[in-house]
């Protein structure tokens, strides 16, 4: 099974990687979509994640089937559309990635530090990404439905909104510098206006995504990390409050709109 997934992934990567050589700046998106119509390469990650969910792993040699993503142990369908959410057992607001990290630590004994101090696309953090693909795949076409009622959710949302406008770093950028007006572009890339409900849903609800430009699967943590890089700040810590706050703000703002994850992106 594993062998097959990897072979398929390589084949898919080869298909989508070829046109990249032409002009990465002026990609013909329709051509890509056409090419991907037979299957979003993210599906390979979904399959890997599904297998990981039920595979006994870690020092405790346990599966993730006791993991509660907010709707009860082992309930995966619809869970991603309602995250981030407040979890009473940790007394924390958690996004999908930090919740998975918590489950891996608590159930399987895989230390969170290994993931937090790791790198994207590698080791246990790559495993988290595959699990993310599986979980969001079970919320396809669902409207974003984040419950902001709990005081800790309210506070996270408010902090996320403030962070969105927080200018800092070598170029004075805030998220709002690039994402607060309709119809703006950086070079040829369109930027969603995240201060509107529709734009927030567009930004929040299309990640995680398979990126055709580099044949990589990126989670929202990864997306935010790269936006902070472009913003010229120091490096955000994986799963840290700032990432949860921004995620809560974007998801909450996008409430009611349909998510298209896992997305396919340039």
């Amino acid at each position: 099974m594993r062998q097959k997934i990897i072979a398929a992934a390589i084949a898919a990567a080869a298909v989508v990687a070829a046109p990249q050589a032409l002009a990465s700046e002026e990609l013909n998106f329709d051509a890509y979509r056409q090419m991907l119509a037979d299957g979003n390469p993210a599906e390979l990650f979904e399959m890997e994640g599904e297998e990981l969910w039920t595979t006994a792993r870690g020092p405790k040699n346990a599966t993730l089937e006791k993991c509660d993503l907010g709707l009860g142990a082992n309930v995966v369908v619809g869970a991603a559309a309602q995250m981030p959410r407040y979890f009473a057992d940790t007394d924390k607001v958690q996004d999908l990635e930090s919740r998975l990290m918590h489950c891996m630590d608590a159930l399987q004994g895989i230390p969170s530090a290994e993931i937090i101090n790791g790198s994207f696309l590698k080791g246990e953090r790559a495993k988290v990404a595959a699990l993310v693909a599986y979980v969001v795949g079970q919320s396809k076409g669902k409207p974003i439905q984040v419950d902001l009622a709990h005081p800790k959710m309210k506070e996270m949302y408010a902090m996320g909104e403030k962070t969105f406008y927080y200018r800092t770093g070598a170029m004075d950028f805030a998220c709002s510098s690039c994402h607060s007006q309709d119809g703006k572009r950086i070079r040829a890339t369109s930027l969603p206006n995240i201060t509107t409900s529709k734009g927030a849903a567009e930004g929040w609800g299309s990640w995680p995504a398979y990126r055709v430009s580099n044949s990589q699967f990126w989670t929202m943590q990864h997306r935010l990390w790269d936006c902070f890089r472009q913003q010229r700040t120091a490096e955000p810590v994986f799963g840290s409050d700032v990432t949860i706050a921004l995620s809560t703000f974007m998801a909450g703002k996008g409430n009611g709109h349909e998510a298209v994850w896992p997305g396919v992106k340039r």
Binding site: E25, E26, E155, A158, M159, K162, T163, Y165, Y166, R167, T168, G169, A170, M171, D172, F173, A174, S176, S177, C178, S180, Q181, G183, K184, R185, I186, R187, A188, T195, R229, Q230, R232, T233, A234, E235, P236, V237, S240, D241, V242, T243, A245
Partner: protein, 200 residues
């Protein structure tokens, strides 16, 4: 009624206190959620006066804007011997096109691009231009090269906040993004009649 009147200011006070509480929490989070990586050190997480004043959906009142702009204008380093535009427009083009520099994956804080095309149209032939800033196509041809316009443009490139405290444009000279020599090259790219910016 009396009670309501008494409570109203209290509630107002509480919400104001909560708002500044939240600001303090956010400022703290902007440090504690980050780690230094290479040239991207943690001091990047601390706001200066302008950044702090311009971190909400609405900008400060006119008097505050004016005060901030005057302070920023005072930081502008005017060019040696009044040499504003004597750079090489071809060098200027390279600097305007390159958006690289100052991220935690860059090895050195020097040799940065200006990233002008991320936000501005400049050479009318370049189709892949951003739209966050206004089009600068035909800049020198349209604006001319009076001392006033040349000086203003130098100042804008050195410290964009001197003319609009909450501008989305980075402070190239002040922020050590570009050197004086690089800014002179970009000035030539904007003003030289031979530059593609000024061709139709």
């Amino acid at each position: 009624m009396k009670k309501a009147l008494l409570l109203a200011p209290l509630a107002l006070f509480a919400s104001v206190a909560m708002a500044s509480d939240l600001d303090a929490k956010v400022a703290e989070m902007m440090k504690s959620s980050f780690k230094a990586n290479g040239i991207a050190s943690l001091d990047r997480q601390v706001q200066d006066e302008v950044q702090k004043a311009c971190s909400s959906p609405t900008q400060p009142d006119a008097a505050t804007m004016k005060r901030l702009e005057e302070a920023q204008l005072a930081t502008v380093k005017w060019p040696e011997a009044g040499n504003y535009t004597g750079g090489d427009w071809q060098e200027g083009a390279r600097i305007a096109i390159s958006g690289r520099g100052l991220t935690w994956t860059d090895k050195t804080p020097d040799n940065n691009g200006g990233g002008c095309y991320n936000c501005h149209a400049m050479d009318p032939k370049e189709v892949s231009a951003g739209t966050i800033g206004p089009s600068l196509e035909g800049y020198g041809r349209i604006r001319g090269n009076s001392e006033e316009i040349v000086k203003y443009t130098w100042g804008k490139l050195w410290n964009a906040k001197a003319y609009n405290a909450c501008s989305d444009m980075p402070r190239n000279g002040f922020g050590k993004i570009l050197t004086e020599t690089q800014i002179r090259h970009v000035m030539a790219y904007l003003f030289d009649p031979a530059s593609p910016v000024n061709k139709q």
